[in-house]
C-alpha cells in the first residue's frame, strides 16, 4: 500500500543494519541506518564478516542502488564496518545525503576541547592495544575484551573506514548532527517525512560527568598520560617473574593488573556509544526511534529535556544490553517511548552468546527482553527473525 512504511532489518550477527523504505509520490525512497558487525575476537559469531556481502547485495537489489539518506550513528565497527568492507558494491550506489554524529566531524575536538579526553583516551587505548599485540598479550585477554577494544580502536586506527563513508557524497551533502530544536526536512525524501535529532548534545563532555565532576573520563585518559620520553620501548618478550615469586603467580598478577587498566575501556566504550546520533523518524504518520547505541547518560538527558514520545517502532539501543537503557528509571523511559496497549513494535539488533558471560551480563539482557515482551505488540530479534546475512521486513 502506498502509505506503508517497511523497515527491513538484517541479521548481520552482532551489529546494526536497518533499511527504512517508503513511497513518496511515485518514487520508492530508502534510508539506510548503519551497517556493521562486532569485530573479531568475540566468543562466537562476532567478527565473522561473511554476512556483509549477501547483505550488501540484498541492499543493492531492494533499493535499486539508490539510497536517499545514509546514516552512521557512531564510530563503532558494529555500526559501520560493512560499508568499508563492501565498498566494491557501495561504490555503485547513488547516495543522496550522509548524516553522522557531530563528534565525527573532522574538526570537532578543536571546536570542543573539553571533549578531548575522549579522543585522547581512545588514542591511548589504541597505542596500548598495539603494544600488547606486539607482545602477544592481546590474544591472552578474554575474547569479549578483545572485541571491545577492537570495536573502539580499529576505527581510530583505520581512518579510511570513516573517510570512505564521507567520500560517498560531496562534502556539501554531509551533515554532522547534534540535538536541535526543530525537525530537519530533506527535500529528496518528500513532504511526509520528518526527521528529528534527539541526541547527541553538541558538547559531548556532558556525558562524561559524574555528579558535576568530569573526572572519570579524564582519569581514563591517563592511558596517554605517560609522556613518550618516559615510556621505554617495550620488549617483545614477556617479562620473567622475579626470583622470589612463583612464575604462575606473577603471570596472574600481571594479567590482573592489565584487567585493572582495562577497566578504563568501558569508560571509553561508553563515551563513544553516547555520541550516537539518536533519530526520530516520522514517515506517513508512522513514528520510529533509532537510538544507535545511546547509553544511560544520553537517555537521561533526552528524558530530562522531555524529548521522548511514544513511537510505533523502537529500535532498542546497544543491542539490548543493560547499558542500552538508562541506568536510572528504565521503566519510566519505556513508559514514555512505548505506546499504551501494546502499540509499539520493538526491534533488537543483536546476537546472543557474543558478549556477557553470565545471565545478568549477557546481551541481550533477559529482564529488558521480558519487559519488552510484556509491553510491545511484537519484539523482533534479528538473530531469530532471519538467517545470517538475510533480512526480514516489518511493516508499519
Amino acid at each position: 500500500m502506498a502509505n506503508d512504511v517497511r523497515v527491513r532489518a538484517y541479521n548481520v550477527r552482532f551489529g546494526d543494519c536497518i533499511l527504512v523504505s517508503f513511497t513518496s509520490g511515485s518514487t520508492d525512497k530508502h534510508i539506510l541506518i548503519d551497517f556493521g558487525n562486532a569485530p573479531g575476537g568475540v566468543r562466537s559469531q562476532g567478527g565473522i564478516n561473511d554476512v556483509f556481502e549477501p547483505v550488501a547485495r540484498d541492499l543493492a537489489r531492494v533499493t535499486g542502488k539508490r539510497i536517499a539518506l545514509l546514516i552512521m550513528s557512531h564510530e563503532h565497527l558494529d555500526h559501520m564496518e560493512g560499508f568499508f568492507s563492501q565498498k566494491a558494491i557501495f561504490n555503485e550506489f547513488e547516495i543522496g545525503d550522509v548524516w553522522m554524529s557531530a563528534m565525527s566531524a573532522p574538526d570537532y575536538y578543536q571546536r570542543f576541547p573539553q571533549c578531548e579526553p575522549e579522543q585522547r583516551a581512545r588514542l591511548a587505548l589504541h597505542a596500548t592495544a598495539l603494544r600488547w599485540d606486539r607482545e602477544g598479550r592481546f590474544e591472552r585477554l578474554p575474547a569479549a575484551l578483545r572485541s571491545l577494544i577492537a570495536n573502539n580502536v580499529l576505527a581510530v586506527a583505520n581512518k579510511d573506514r570513516i573517510d570512505y563513508i564521507r567520500g560517498l557524497v560531496p562534502k556539501s551533502r554531509i551533515k554532522y548532527l547534534s540535538r536541535r530544536a526543530r525537525a530537519i526536512s530533506v527535500a529528496s525524501l518528500g513532504r511526509g517525512v520528518k526527521l528529528e535529532v534527539l541526541a547527541p548534545e553538541k558538547d559531548a563532555s556532558v556525558y562524561y560527568a559524574n555528579g558535576g565532576h568530569r573526572f572519570w573520563l579524564d582519569a581514563t585518559a591517563r592511558f596517554g598520560g605517560s609522556p613518550e620520553k618516559r615510556r621505554r620501548t617495550a620488549k617483545n618478550t614477556t617479562p620473567r617473574a622475579p626470583s622470589h615469586i612463583a612464575a604462575d603467580e606473577f603471570e596472574l598478577l600481571r594479567d590482573e593488573i592489565a584487567e585493572l587498566d582495562l577497566a578504563d575501556l568501558l569508560a571509553i566504550d561508553k563515551a563513544a556509544n553516547n555520541t550516537s546520533l539518536v533519530l526520530r523518524l516520522t514517515v506517513n504518520g508512522k513514528v520510529m526511534l533509532f537510538p544507535g547505541d545511546a547509553e544511560g547518560e544520553s537517555w537521561a538527558i533526552m528524558k530530562q529535556k522531555n524529548l521522548l514520545r511514544p513511537v510505533d517502532l523502537l529500535k532498542l539501543a546497544h543491542h539490548g544490553s543493560i547499558n542500552g537503557m538508562p541506568f536510572r528509571g528504565t521503566e519510566d523511559v519505556l513508559a514514555q517511548v512505548l505506546k499504551p496497549r501494546k502499540g509499539t513494535v520493538a526491534l533488537v539488533c543483536t546476537c546472543r552468546d557474543v558478549y556477557g558471560d553470565t545471565t545478568d551480563t549477557a546481551i541481550p539482557h533477559h529482564e529488558l527482553m521480558d519487559l519488552l515482551e510484556d509491553r510491545c505488540k511484537a519484539v523482533h530479534v534479528t538473530q531469530d527473525a532471519a538467517a545470517f546475512g538475510l533480512g526480514f521486513d516489518i511493516l508499519l
Partner: protein, 599 residues
C-alpha cells in the same frame, strides 16, 4: 646528605626456642621533601617486626614486594638484605636483617614501601590497639606491594589484585615523585587493606560515611604510626612546643606529593588533619577524602588535647617540658589516642558504619574499660565530637550503637572453646541467644569473623583475652520506580552486630546495628543519590570494572553487590604532564584544574 639514625623497637615475646626475625630498614619518616626542606628532618631507620619469615623482595610473612611497572611492563629484581646478623637477645635467638639502599634507586622505594606497610600493620596489631592478627579481605596471606606500579599520580589498594599499587609521576618541574616514598601514603593505603580485612562490607556500603571512614582510618594511621618511630619523636621534640606549627609534620599529610600535584603556593600537603570541619559541613559531600577529614581533624584534636593535658597535669608541670618529658608526653598521648580511637575499630558492627556510630562505640568502649576517666581523656574525645556535631547525643537515638547489653545470666551455650573453634561454633552461640541479641528468628544470619585478642591495658598490665564475633544478615530494599533499572532494582542493607566476650563468656561489648526505618531510609537516600549522580555502573564483562566510583554486580542469588571502586578513590586530582599536548588540550586541563581548585 641526610642524617640517618638507627632505631630498634621490637620486643614482641616469642615462644622459647624460637628464632625471631627482625629487619632494620632505612625509611623516610615523612617523605623526601620533608627531608630536603627541613634539613635534618625526618629520615631514619625503622625496625620492622619480629616476624616468622624475612626473604628477598623484601618479603615477610604478610607482605611481598613485587617491583613490576605496568606502564613499561618491566620487572625489577627484588632487594636482598645487606647483611644478616645472628645473635642472642633477651635469652632468645634472633636474626636481624639489614635492608638499605641509596637514595633515588628502585631498591629505596621497595624497602621504604615494605617497611612502612609492615609497620602500619604492626600499629593495628599492637597490644594496645587490637592485640591480634588482622586478616586480609582476599583469599591469600601475603599482600603484594608494587612500589613503582605505574606512571600515575595515584596510589591504591585493590582487593582484586591483592596489592597496594603505588604510582610515580613527574611534577610541573619534571622532577620524579614516587608515592611509595611517602610514609603517609604508604601507611594510608596499607590501612585501607587492613580495614578491608577487618570489615569487608564497608567497601560495599553505599553510605558515604563508610568510604569516608576508610579515608579517616588511613589518615589517622598515617599520623599515629609516626609516633612508633623513636627517631621521629627525637626530632620532633627539638621543635618549639609553644609554636602552633609544632605538630605540622604530623598533620600535614604527604607534603611532597601534595606539592607535586598542587605546587607549594597552593597547598603545603595533600591533606591536613588540622581543621575545624563539622559533620554538617560535609553532610552532602560525596568525596570520601573531604568527608573523612572531619574525623581525622577530630583524631588530631584528641592527640593534641591529650598531649597538652599531660603537660598541664600536676605531674606534667612537676616534670617540666624538657625534651625527655616532651618525648614521653608525645608517646603517651599517641598511645591513648590509639587506644581510644583505633582500638574500637575492632568492635564496630560489620555491615556499615557512620561517623556517629563510630564515636558512639569509641565512647562506650572507653567507658567500659576506664569508667572513671580519671585523666579526663574521654572528655577530650567527647568535647571534640560535640564540636564537630558527631556526639551521639546530637543525633537521633536510632543511629546510636546501643550499649545496653543483655545480662550474662540470660545467655545460653556459654562455651568459649566452642565459640573460638570456628565461625560455626560462634554461630551456635549466637543462634542460641537470638532473642538476647535481637536477631530475627526468621533470618539466616551468618558469622563473618571470629578472633581472640591478647591486649595490654597499661604498661606491663595485660587484659583478659576477648573473643570478638561479627555477625550479619542482609535485607533487600527495593528502589523507587523513577530510579530503578533492570540492572539495579534494589540495594542491600546489612544488619547485625559485633559481640565481644571474655574467657568466661561474660559480655564485654555488643554493638548491634538493627535494620531500623531510619537506617533503611538513609541507605535508600544515599543509593538514589549515587544513581542520580551517575556514580554507579554495571560491569557487563566479567573481570572488568569501570571508571566510576561504584560498581554494581549481581551474585548467584540475584542480590546486587555494590563495590567501591578503590582504584579510583585517590585518583582524579592528578594533573599529569603529557608531552605534545595541544593548546586545546591545555585549555581543557586548565579548566578541570580550576574546577578542582574551586571545590
Amino acid at each position: 646528605m641526610a642524617k640517618r639514625t638507627e632505631l630498634t623497637t621490637d620486643d614482641t615475646p616469642r615462644g622459647p626456642g624460637s628464632y625471631r626475625r627482625r629487619a632494620r630498614a632505612k625509611v623516610y619518616l615523612k617523605d623526601p621533601l620533608a627531608l630536603s626542606s627541613r634539613g635534618n628532618f625526618p629520615i631514619g631507620e625503622a625496625i620492622v617486626s619480629g616476624d616468622t619469615s624475612i626473604a628477598p623482595g623484601p618479603t615477610s610473612s604478610r607482605f611481598v614486594v613485587v617491583d613490576y611497572d605496568a606502564s613499561t611492563d618491566r620487572v625489577y629484581a627484588p632487594t636482598k638484605w645487606r647483611e644478616r646478623v645472628e645473635h642472642w637477645s633477651q635469652g632468645q635467638g634472633e636474626y636481624l636483617y639489614d635492608f638499605a639502599a641509596s637514595p633515588g634507586t628502585r631498591q629505596e622505594a621497595q624497602i621504604n614501601a615494605w617497611a612502612t606497610a609492615v609497620d602500619t600493620l604492626q600499629l593495628f596489631e599492637d597490644e594496645h590497639v587490637f592485640g591480634r592478627e588482622v586478616p586480609w579481605a582476599f583469599d591469600g596471606s601475603r599482600i603484594r606491594i608494587l612500589p613503582q606500579a605505574t606512571y600515575d599520580a595515584n596510589a591504591f589498594y585493590s582487593r582484586q589484585t591483592k596489592a597496594l599499587h603505588f604510582g610515580y609521576f613527574a611534577d610541573r618541574h619534571d622532577r620524579p615523585i614516587k608515592t611509595s616514598l611517602s610514609h603517609d601514603i604508604v601507611a594510608h593505603e596499607a590501612s585501607h587493606a587492613i580495614l578491608d580485612g577487618l570489615r569487608p562490607s564497608y567497601l560495599e556500603s553505599v553510605h558515604p560515611d563508610a568510604a569516608g571512614f576508610h579515608e579517616y582510618v588511613g589518615d589517622a594511621a598515617a599520623m599515629l604510626s609516626l609516633f612508633r618511630q623513636r627517631d621521629f619523636l627525637r626530632q620532633l621534640v627539638m621543635l618549639n612546643v609553644k609554636q602552633r606549627s609544632f605538630f605540622n609534620l604530623v598533620t600535614e599529610l604527604a607534603p611532597q606529593v601534595g606539592e607535586g600535584l598542587y605546587g607549594q603556593a597552593d597547598r603545603a600537603a595533600l591533606r591536613t588533619a588540622r581543621n575545624t570541619l563539622t559533620y554538617k559541613q560535609v553532610e552532602h559531600e560525596t568525596d570520601p577524602h573531604v568527608r573523612g577529614q572531619v574525623l581525622s581533624g577530630l583524631a588530631f584534636e584528641v592527640l593534641e588535647g591529650v598531649f597538652h593535658a599531660r603537660l598541664d597535669s600536676p605531674m606534667g608541670r612537676e616534670r617540666g617540658q624538657g625534651r625527655q618529658e616532651l618525648f614521653r608526653a608525645l608517646m603517651t598521648a599517641a598511645r591513648h589516642t590509639m587506644r581510644m580511637l583505633l582500638r574500637p575499630i575492632d568492635l564496630l558492627p560489620p555491615g556499615n558504619i557512620t561517623f556517629v556510630e563510630y564515636i558512639s562505640v569509641a565512647l562506650a568502649v572507653d567507658g567500659h574499660f576506664f569508667p572513671d576517666d580519671g585523666l579526663g581523656y574521654r572528655k577530650i574525645v567527647e568535647k571534640a565530637a560535640r564540636k564537630r556535631g558527631l556526639h551521639p547525643s546530637q543525633h537521633d537515638y536510632e543511629y546510636e550503637i546501643e550499649s545496653e547489653m543483655p545480662a550474662n545470666s540470660k545467655l545460653r551455650e556459654r562455651d568459649i572453646a566452642m565459640i573460638r573453634s570456628s565461625r560455626v561454633g560462634a554461630y551456635r552461640f549466637l543462634d542460641a541467644n537470638r532473642k538476647n541479641f535481637r536477631i530475627p528468628s526468621n533470618r539466616d544470619f551468618r558469622v563473618v569473623g571470629v578472633g581472640t585478642n591478647r591486649r595490654a591495658l597499661g604498661l606491663g598490665e595485660r587484659a583478659v583475652p576477648e573473643t570478638i564475633v561479627q555477625y550479619l544478615w542482609e535485607e533487600r530494599i527495593p528502589l523507587p520506580r523513577d530510579v530503578r533499572s533492570t540492572a539495579l532494582d534494589h540495594i542491600v542493607l546489612r544488619a547485625g552486630g559485633t559481640v565481644a566476650v571474655d574467657e568466661y563468656v561474660n559480655l564485654v561489648h555488643w554493638s548491634p546495628q538493627m535494620p531500623t526505618t531510619l537506617r533503611r531510609d538513609a541507605l535508600k537516600e544515599h543509593a538514589i543519590r549515587l544513581i542520580k549522580d551517575r556514580a554507579v555502573d554495571f560491569a557487563p564483562v566479567s573481570g572488568l570494572i569501570t571508571a566510576r566510583p561504584f560498581v554494581a554486580s549481581k551474585d548467584d542469588a540475584g542480590t546486587i553487590r555494590m563495590m567501591l571502586n578503590t582504584a579510583r578513590m585517590h585518583r582524579g586530582r592528578a594533573h599529569l604532564r603529557s608531552s605534545g599536548a595541544s593548546a586545546g588540550q591545555a585549555r581543557a586541563r586548565a579548566a578541570v584544574a580550576s574546577a578542582r581548585h574551586a571545590r
